[in-house]
Symmetry: D2
Subunit: 396 residues, 4 copies
């Protein structure tokens, strides 16, 4: 099979050399990430259920979860949730197969409950979250499900990925991950963390917003001390992955004199005022990157079988990573893939690879190697499905 793969030399300033770089990551307890996580875990649960009941993954898309904020009265030493968070699970899923009826809503709600429990340790799901369901009825093209080895694309859409992470990107990603680790030692750290970095030349300014959990803090003094400790810990951790100078700030909107600080009951701002939606937070690589191409497609919650808006975003990142690690002379790699509705997903309408290269590189060899890597990945495209179903590929 000859595929439409184009490899192009990119003559542009690498991101690392641009003067200004802006990067953001929303932590797993941010309302948008909660929505993403719910959507993706429900899709995964449906995949397993379909597989075990009918032997194949039937059509579904659960990428439209909406998180509507509740109300709370945070306080040092405790506080309480006043009005529960309302979560609307929507999307659609196949409900009937032959004589069998699939309990889609029950699976969705059970999965949602377990997911929230797994990511928000200070919330009592059954008391503080209303899990409502308006999942529509989808239908599967059974021909497609059972006869074709490689499924057809659900739509005309595109994915984009790149590699490698810049230093700033690495710092941002690691900082959020580090905080979730630090949380084991400092339980006042909530899961709703937003890490934002602006690199200006060789200085990386990191601004972290972290929802602090009231019941693990005695008073304002304790809050202020804990903040200092966290900042120090972040700075130390950052040294391990950054060579540039990094400045860290935490909860900059705090006004301790008026007593106004970022305090929550549950560790997420969804308890009071901040709604969340699927697809508005991190891209499939875990970041929001203003100096990089991004796709608007929500990756989380889409079915992993034939939804190219999901598969191609992940695949392009995989291809870019592999090119960077295997092709010596490339610098930055950007991969874009465009589908054709109905055509097998391993035959995209076009797969574009752009790379910068080190000076003096033999570009025709780079081209050949990059193309081969892309071809290999397209041959192995079902691996993406499998990894998604096993939860081995993150989507936000």
């Amino acid at each position: 099979m000859t595929r439409n793969i184009k490899v192009e030399k990119l003559s542009q300033q690498p991101v690392e050399e641009q003067m200004i770089e802006l990067v953001e990551r929303k932590g797993i307890g941010h309302p948008d990430s909660i929505a993403d996580g719910l959507a993706e875990s429900i899709s995964r649960a449906l995949c397993h259920e379909y597989k075990s009941r009918v032997g194949a993954v039937l059509h579904h898309n659960t990428d439209e979860t909406q998180v509507v904020a509740g109300r709370s009265c945070p306080a040092f030493g405790g506080g309480e949730i006043i009005q529960p968070i309302y979560v609307l699970l929507s999307g659609r899923a196949t409900r009937f197969f032959e004589e069998q009826e699939i309990p889609v809503d029950v699976i969705a709600r059970r999965t949602a409950k377990e997911y929230i429990r797994s990511v928000l340790c200070n919330i009592d799901v059954s008391d503080h979250v209303i899990l409502d369901c308006r999942i529509g009825t989808g239908s599967s093209d059974l021909q497609d499900v059972f006869k074709r080895k490689v499924p057809g694309a659900n739509d005309t859409s595109f994915g984009v990925g790149y590699a490698p992470f810049s230093e700033t990107e690495t710092v941002v990603y690691n900082t959020e991950r580090f905080l979730m680790d630090l949380k084991k030692r400092i339980p006042a750290i909530g899961e709703d963390v937003k890490v934002m970095a602006m690199r200006s030349g060789d200085i990386i300014n990191i601004t972290v917003a972290c929802a602090m959990v009231g019941r693990h803090l005695d008073d304002l003094a304790d809050y202020m001390e804990t903040k200092e400790v966290i900042v120090r810990e972040i700075e130390e951790n950052v040294c391990s992955c950054a060579q540039r100078k990094v400045k860290v700030q935490l909860n900059v909107a705090d006004d301790p004199e008026s007593g106004s600080v970022y305090l929550t009951v549950s560790g997420t701002s969804a308890e009071m005022g901040d709604d969340g939606s699927v697809g508005r937070g991190n891209r499939a690589n875990g970041l929001i990157t203003l100096n990089r191409p991004m796709s608007m497609e929500a990756t989380s919650g889409k079915n992993p079988i034939r939804h190219v808006g999901k598969i191609y975003n992940l695949l392009s990142t995989q291809i870019a990573n592999k090119i960077v690690s295997e092709v010596d002379e490339v610098g930055e790699v950007y991969v874009r893939i465009l589908s054709q509705i109905g055509k097998p997903i391993d035959e995209p309408h076009m797969l574009s690879i752009q790379t910068t290269v080190k000076e003096g590189a033999n570009y025709s060899q780079v081209q050949a190697e990059a193309e081969q890597i892309a071809n290999q990945w397209l041959d192995d495209i079902l691996v993406i499905q499998e990894k998604l179903m096993k939860g081995e590929l993150k989507t936000f």
Copy 2:
């Protein structure tokens, strides 16, 4: 006031010269655009209501509308909606001011109803759309509302904009606009249009998905003929704005032999199976552009007073446009603006301008002129608010 404005020369292949370019626009009747439009019109209505009742715009954010698809039975010559579209209006808004109670939910629903009527001519809002409301209660910092001339940023976040449109971008944008115009002559054209373009070298391939309205089509033959007419009209129209060769395809997933074509009752896929969310469709400039930096911030529905996620996306585009039109030697211009939570919105943490320039340009002059334009716009930042409230700035 000295602001932190950085102007940087960008040495990168202009988008026009890149081999592959991917651009998309979702039409006003696409479920995501419906969500955007609802969110933005409700915010605008609240602004007016607040102004007329209390003399200032109180705090609100209505950027979380969720459109949950209904069910339909489309048919040539008619068809019918089986299950209404469910719309959840969420977000939050100030409900009390001194002794007055603001009818936020009633305003939101009335505006939503009128908005849908204005963009979807084949839907009977009262029969086919459930407008549900879970708008929370927000509160306004009255100090901020009434005392400060320039409000403080609501958050630390960023906006990004660029200019000028590439040829492909222009073609995509114009094609959707043209179809909404053509609809007056060919009423079978629904408002749910998706225009996707892949430019490969000097050929622009346009794929249009257009929901066709059953009651304006007699039968399959009529459908097929109408498609041909529409393709021809698009091609003719495109000639006026493109010098490259443009290939147009419409509803490529149609399979006329099996009778499977893109037919709807109402002209939007929200009637059957496609949900929509705010902020997942077009960026503030009306496009999704895989070769350009984009912001993840939803622009629609955020309050126009101090929500920098909204204001800076629009402002950066305005600045980029002005630089392109007034500074002779620049090619492409990219503007990024980063806020500081609480600081006046006319004093961003950083405003970065990147430009390509024509060969031999005097870059220090370009820098000076670009900086001056940025400064002017920051001085006039309240104009953005005014234009938004008047509906003079589109957000999707």
Copy 3:
């Protein structure tokens, strides 16, 4: 066919001779009546739809509408609705018949909208009422629908009816009806009227609660005057149907000195604070009668084909009325009918008739005549269905 009909002489003080009698009627704009009216009109609309589409009434029950009150700011000369009334239409209905899909939700919502418009003249349905739908999917026993002349009872349940109305009952019923007539002349009268009567010996005390409509009243003085006029009108009207002395009071909780009076924007208390449910208001004869047997079955919204909880309540009243009008010597007549699940509805498990008789009456003749009337009505039971579908029998 020999049916199980029992006629029994009742030796009890007729209601007219009891010392104390308590009677109530909730007007058509009372939240419970709104729920009843919605339920019944939707059932009727579905009946027509099913008949015209498939030639027979398919299974449905829409007797579970819930009206959740809104919020309002009433004022003389106007006022406004702050938060819409939320109406949840639930129950179940057959959605598929052969290849056809019935737009149950769309019909339900359209009917609901039209019904509210027809009974609440001061409400803008589209702005002030959220019509949500969670109607489940029912299924029809097609054997039953198309093969049997007389359908089988859906359940084991009972109905009860009586005749004639006592004087107090007549006064209560007529007073509410009169007010809806008077409303044409005095538009400040809202549709949410509650008429309660306590007869103590020969004095009938009537207490009317009537939601007054702000925009038709200039000020408190106007309100107080209007009240006086209404009381006078009621008194005059009552003279025509009552021989006992009748005392009338209106809105007794008003406290004009503190400005606290029964003022509304829309003429119904559902706008602020009062929820409503099907089956909690008037019985099938339009009254709540504490001196009479009553059924707990909600009559409104149940399907009129085989739901004996509906049919038998109406039928028993019809039989009682006919006995009173045709059998000379009877005084009060009470009819109770018990079904057997699955058995034809014209063969009840038991039909009990209790009558008081004038002294010296020939009871065996009364028995014979009463039994014959009951038999005739059971022979004609399908007339109840027809009248219900035409809206000729009221259910509340």
Copy 4:
């Protein structure tokens, strides 16, 4: 204080002597009873919360819970819930007191969850029940709450009660209670039981509908055998409370040949098809009695402080019981109480007592004693509140 109490001799055939008697009781797992139980337990929980937070019970009414049925696939040996039951908690409650915000919705949902757990042992609340909340904001007349010893009536409405139970009534009530006891030995018995009795002369026909739980039954044969055992157990139990001949039938709509029997997953028909509402099931004495006067007021969920629709229904039954037990010569006692909106609840507008008496009784003494008992109870009316808050008085 002289109260308006009227005692009247009733010359009517006692229910025991009437030829036909109809009585029904819906078990605790019937959808209407679930709604009642939820409403009442939430009101009780709010009472405790208010008392412990502000020292007094603030205004609330939670008597409008709606249970919307789910979907299920019952099967011998298991079965599964396909779509969760949706419960809408509505009504209103005071949310703010001085500076404090009361977490009304969280309390309501937590209580609802615990209540369902306590009455439906085969349901997993968190997976199978959506607990949604649209409880409005009420306000308390603080004057009334904190200053008055005896609160004022919330409305003009009435209650009714009687004593003693007839034999048929006792049989019906006990049978349902007995089944809930028998359930410990026969776990296949679901909580959704409906006991209906028709007494015809001296034969009491009992028809029991009992939702059977699939996972406790191996197959159809097991089901049929279990039914026989249950019928036998009921018959034996009934002997202890009835002297008349009692015939018992169970699940009469079963058609074992076609395999159609009353099988459920969870033991309640709310899992599939049967909605429930507050106030449509049992009256405050636990029965639906077609030969007795009944009130339409929902007793469950109303606040126990000043809602006369609740208090007077319970009080009238208490008074009737006491008269029967303490006044030797009375037979049947009927008590009706009518309130006056705003007046202290211990000063009803009228309290009517009707009694039958044994032949030769001294009625003036009966009158005196009955009146005294009524007066005593009115003096002690706050005991009703206390008992309700402690859960010592059942409301359905």
